[in-house]
């Protein structure tokens, strides 16, 4: 095979930031941040909900002056507002949990690689054990043990996700740990913690960053699933998953809007995160770096 540097340079993938998925994702994030301004109704405030307007079809104008653009659910909550507020919960829960899980996974993975021997063996067997359990099962057990609540969901998602990061980071850290600069560091009077955190970790971080957006997408889906099963957020704080679940029982009755629109929002959000994640991976990939 002949080497053709010129064409390789030309074919280098785009590193543009303003791709359509990124813009759509930015729109979702902006909508979530601005939910209190954008949403006609605060679905967490019982005073703003009118029970008699429950199950109104899309387009109804309610007595409180609300325009129910996407209709209301079985308790009179505006679906559009539920989606906006639900986005907040979904994004907050998934980003916080993914970052925390990444931090834990990084530290654990790097530690295992650096110390090797029995430390590595023990840590990696724990990781293997957890990865061999179905994610949903681990999350369910965690929620059932910890109890319901937004903070508990975050904790459950961290428990579910850290092992993936640990596994990926360790493999990179293993090859980094054998490199001369680490050997050099070891000869200096530096503490292990310093070598691991200041030298090994920054050089092993790339795969974790590639993994991050994908795992955020997973976390959104997992949170929605837990909420759908009624194990997630409190019942008076609708999230995307629990709104879909609320509407699920009305699907046969023709009140399609309760489930359908939050379902679309969930689909759009996860798709945008996954596509944007691909862009982020391209941007971070060292092989794509300009000379």
């Amino acid at each position: 095979m002949t080497h053709q540097p010129s064409t390789t340079l030309k074919r280098r993938p785009s590193r543009r930031v303003c791709t359509p998925p990124n813009l759509i994702l930015a729109l979702f994030v902006a909508a979530a941040v601005a939910a209190p301004v954008l949403a006609p109704q605060n679905p967490y405030d019982p005073l703003q909900i009118f029970g008699w307007e429950a199950s109104s079809p899309p387009g109804t104008i309610g007595s409180g002056g609300y325009h129910y653009l996407l209709g209301t659910d079985g308790l009179g909550r505006d679906i559009a507002s539920c989606i906006l507020y639900g986005l907040r919960i979904s994004l907050m829960v998934s980003i916080v949990s993914a970052l925390a899980a990444a931090a834990i996974g990084l530290t654990v993975g790097v530690t295992a690689a650096y110390f090797g021997k029995w430390v590595d063996a023990i840590i990696m067997r724990v990781v293997d054990l957890q990865l061999s359990l179905p994610t949903m099962l681990v999350a369910l057990i965690a929620i059932v043990t910890l109890g319901p609540g937004v903070d508990r969901i975050i904790l459950a998602l961290i428990i579910v996700q850290w092992a993936t990061y640990a596994r990926v980071v360790r493999s990179v850290a293993l090859s980094e740990a054998g490199k001369p600069y680490i050997d050099a560091a070891r000869t200096m009077p530096l503490s292990n913690a310093r070598i691991v955190l200041r030298h090994l970790l920054p050089n092993s971080i790339a795969p974790a960053i590639t993994l991050l957006p994908i795992e955020i997408g997973h976390a959104v889906a997992l949170e929605a699933t837990l909420s759908f099963l009624g194990l997630g957020v409190p019942m008076d704080q609708p999230s995307l998953g629990s709104t879909v679940a609320n509407g699920f029982q009305y699907l046969l009755t023709g009140q399609y809007w309760i489930s359908l629109f939050p379902g679309f929002a969930l689909f759009g959000l996860i798709a945008a995160i996954n596509f944007a994640g691909e862009d982020i991976r391209r941007i971070w990939d060292p092989r794509n770096r300009s000379i």
């Binding site: 405030d45 019982p46 005073l47 909900i49 009118f50 029970g51 008699w52 429950a54 199950s55 079985g74 308790l75 009179g76 009624g230 409190p234 019942m235 008076d236 029982q249 009305y250 046969l252 009755t253 023709g254």
Partner: protein
Amino acid sequence: MKFPTCLRFTGIRTAAAMLALFTATALAAAAQELRVATSYKLMTLDPHYSTLNENSSLLSHIYERLVYQDEHLNLQPGLATSWRRLSDTSWEFKLRENVRFHDGSPFTSDDVVYTIERIRNFLKPPSGGFQAYTKGIASVSAPDPLTVIIDTDGSQPTLPLSLSAIFIMHRDASGFATTEALNAGTALVGTGPYKFKSWRSGEILELTRNDDYWGDRPSWSEVKFRIVESPAARVAALSTGDVDIADFLPARDVEAIKQRGAKVESVPAARLNFLQFELAKEAAPGVTDKSGNTIPNPFRDQKVRQALSMAIDRGILVEKILSGFGTAAAQFFPNGLAGTSSNLTAQPPRYDEAKALLAEAGFPDGFKLVLNGPAGRYPGDGETLQAVAQSWARIGVSVQPVAVPFSVFNTKRGAGEYGVWYGGCSGESVDVCLEAVLASPDAESGAGALNYGQYRNPAFDEMLEKARALDVGPARDKALADVTDFVMKDQPIAPLYHFHHIFGYGERVGSYVMHPRGWTTAMQASPAAK
């Protein structure tokens, strides 16, 4: 019809005719099979094991009672044709003639004696539930095969009502039948319109027609109950024609079921779902002021209870959450049933008045509370908590609704971990609920079994006792209505709704007569006319 000569006198013609007749009968038999999807999870074949509807509904095909309760909860003759009081402490029951058990032996007064003895002396916990019905009985005797004399400790005016719960078993020469033997399907004989065929605990019950039944010929030759616990699965089974009857359907599915050609019947249930308050503790769990500081139990103030009940929009509960298949409630049973008060009807919410009452009670800014309830136990339970939260927010009471599985709820409620919660009560007559939910708790007499909030009102206890001492009839009903009027002024509970029992049936069933106690039986279903 012209037959070849060779067949005319040989008897083969007769055989052919018989064969044709036989085939026709077989086809008709298939057409007379009734398939039911029921939520009643039959766990035993012992008719005296537990008083739960789960058992008594399905076992009423096999076994019968001396006295029946009709759709208005009035008493009707069953295996007893008449009954009267001989004295204050003695009752005489005249039994029906020419009744036979499924094994062919005649039904006599001795079987009644045996049944009551079995409940009182033979069954041990956990199967002691029926002893509540035989508690006041001192002795039972059978002076002749069709007469039973029951002597009671003190006056027992509701003895016929108690007996309307008890299934009559046949005295077996080998002694008392054990629950295990009955569950194994042996000695399973009653006098009922259907005979036992087969059973798998919690799954299936198959019955065949009792051709020797004393009453009208039972309509169905075969009856097959499939126990389907998920409401959605019952809806699906009915919609696809897998079953002819499905019981306890969700209100929101009614339109879809009708669109698919099934018919739907409903009746307000002889039961109440309500909010109950913790009244004994100095501080009610989960109740704080708006900034989260513990406050003295506000529910001990009658005005607070009245304000909270007044501020519930029951219209939303029955129209929106129960899709119209509910009746807003102000007392234990729906208006019109025996023992209900015509003075008590549910009112629209009066927020201003309620707010003023709260201010009078010393809570002008309201307070915070956790409203607990089961999820998926009763129609509309979880949604009701949230709708009540919306209502109470309008008088300054902020509510955190929490719904958990019934088993968890029941444990925590029993342990006194709740301040205010969603509960339910049903019974064969209104005084059962009055006593269970509102009478001062007393472990010995069993009063106040559902009085988890520890409501104590001696004046009410006394009135109820007097009313319950009256004979079943209009005077007793009036007294019970007065007791209800009296106690509801104190608002010990906030009544919510009587949900409706909703049953659906397919084209092979012509009609289904609903019963407010929610029975599911083949006797209530008539075949469609061809």
